[in-house]
């Protein structure tokens, strides 16, 4: 795994922790432990997404850096191509 793949793997893991926790919180909206788990992972994901965008390009189309004069959203491989 190269550096990009490692970071993407980490984003996948930390984002999934949030996805699963969100479903649990929908039916347990006062669960203190789950609320805490959500807060911690939300911050981890935010940081990792920022790091990924700065180094390898955008994963979301509302944080594309256009300072290079080119639309880079379409540059990185698409997820179904096996690179992600």
């Amino acid at each position: 795994m190269n550096e990009r793949e490692k970071l993407l793997h980490y984003i996948t893991a930390v984002s999934f922790a949030i996805d699963d926790c969100v479903l649990y919180l929908d039916t347990h909206p006062y669960d203190k432990e789950a609320l805490e788990y959500y807060s911690v992972h939300k911050e981890l994901r935010k940081k990792a997404l920022k790091q990924y965008t700065e180094n390898f390009g955008p994963l979301l189309n509302d944080n594309v850096d256009v300072s290079c004069g080119k639309w880079t959203w379409i540059d990185q491989p698409w997820p179904w191509e096996g690179g992600c």
Binding site: L8, H9, I11, T12, S15, F16, D19, D20, V22, L23, Y24, D26, T27, H28, P29, P58, L59, L60, N61, D62, W73, Q76, W78, P79, W80, G82, C84
Partner: protein, 202 residues
Amino acid sequence: MWNYEKRLQYPVKISTPNAKAAKVIITQFGGPDGELAASMRYLSQRYTMPYNEVVGVLTDIGTEELAHMEIVCAIVHQLTKGLSIDEIKAAGFDTYFVDHTLALWPQAASGTPFSSTFFQSKGDPITDLCEDMAAEQKARTTYDNILRLVNDPEICDPIRWLRKREIVHFQRFGEALRIVQDKLDSKNFYAFNPEFDKCKMK
């Protein structure tokens, strides 16, 4: 409103094409218990659902199912990419190929096209949540059957992950059903339909 995130919810990396496997796995894209039907079912049911916890579950699971649809499509795409005409014929994939070449099109393994008749949106929370729980189990059985038919560990890994999500979703819908029942008349859950009848709600 939805935003696209340019990554799969669970990674798919298949190195050996296998049209026979693609032929059965496509059923989880457009088949009766597939991810597209799952997503459309939950996202359709939520508008008239009177309880916030349940609307949350339908919205968030319905959204996750779209991500699962993308995973299934990624599997089928990687299993069919670069196939030769001889390989397509040998695997019996020619009947799909003639209509769609190697593009993705939602159908069951039998060739039956995707249809909204695969799911209900009934406007009664007990009815809909019982359907949703059954749907998760039907999808789980389908993944079990795929695992009986396919051996390649690179295919089985994401299929096993998708199978596990069906079990988690079943659990969440079970909790949603309990939440609904707690808000109804405990002597008769069917005394009124809270999605339609004007009644006092707890």
